[in-house]
Symmetry: C3
Subunit: 138 residues, 3 copies
């Protein structure tokens, strides 16, 4: 059984957004007990990650780290069509994830205690983002 | 239904190769409507990524970034058996992806407008690479 | 058919642990011929990767690289609750993988010759880790 939903999400610019509840909603509507939940983000300047879900400082430190590793507006980048955050957004996406698969056990995403599913907006401006969630199982 | 094909690809050395058409070919031959397409690269010195598919400067900037982050021949690396690009190729692989899963909707890979599936050859020499594509759905 | 097992593993602290045999054990017990094997690590300070499985220097060089890229105790990190390796462990996890999917062909994980599945413990102390393996196919 394959159950697929397309979710529209609006971000308010660069930052991390906990979408664990949105994803679990699809799993619940799919009505399976055991299987897998696949989450896909249809963009090249935003991405997905599993990250510690309790202390917001973790995600602030992630931003600190990424902005040191891939500085916005670095003159080494030729592709700057949409501004200084354009190429860094592509690189942040490639270094993290565009798709995640989570086991489903007893009808729920079997995440660890501290795991949350986050959408990472890498552009500084607000964007509309599309998440395709596919649940399979029995 | 599980439909599995093994594709042989030849690279001409370090660079990125758009394999979206090859992957869609397998999905079309599988003949499913809704499901998932899994792409796996059986190597530790080449990898997969989803990347912006329009402006080649994006992938040139990726190369610029990776060659700064992981310089070929860096004396900090002990493993140099096959040359200065040997250990950097393993690290580039670990930081990107060996497998990707793409949703299938209406018989096609539901990629975003700007998303392409790329094989990244991290060795400087030409190589034969094997991609295992598994399509499931109904 | 979905066959799911939860494996408890004990690490002895920071390092890489080859779990290819543990994962293949689940695939063998599932008794399928063709399909996919999904491996999921339920933690935010340990991760998974596919890596060269022959020369231990590769994984030592990986440690050298990661400890340069993300120094333990770097004062730029605010989140240091559990010590200098706390935030670096989260970042190492995000830059590698929490889940991997491997094709199953003729009843075995179709890994390349040099590919091993490794659990990466990013904390310096020993930990108990949980791996959820889900096998599907026919």
């Amino acid at each position: 059984m394959y159950f697929q939903e397309r979710l529209q999400l609006t971000t308010t610019g660069r930052g991390t957004y906990n979408v664990s509840g949105n994803v679990q909603g699809v799993v619940s509507r799919a009505g399976i007990n055991t299987g897998l939940c696949h989450v896909f983000l249809s963009h090249t300047s935003a991405s997905l990650m599993l990250c510690e879900n309790a202390d917001p400082a973790v995600r602030q430190d992630l931003e600190t780290f990424l902005s040191h590793l891939i500085p916005d507006g670095d003159p080494m980048f030729a592709h700057q069509d949409e501004g200084p955050d354009d190429m860094p957004a592509h690189l942040r996406t490639i270094l993290t994830h565009s798709d995640l698969t989570i086991p489903v056990h007893n009808g729920v995403c079997a995440l660890g205690t501290w795991q949350g599913i986050f959408l990472c907006e890498h552009r500084t401006q607000a964007h509309q983002r599309v998440l395709v969630v596919t649940v399979q199982g029995e």
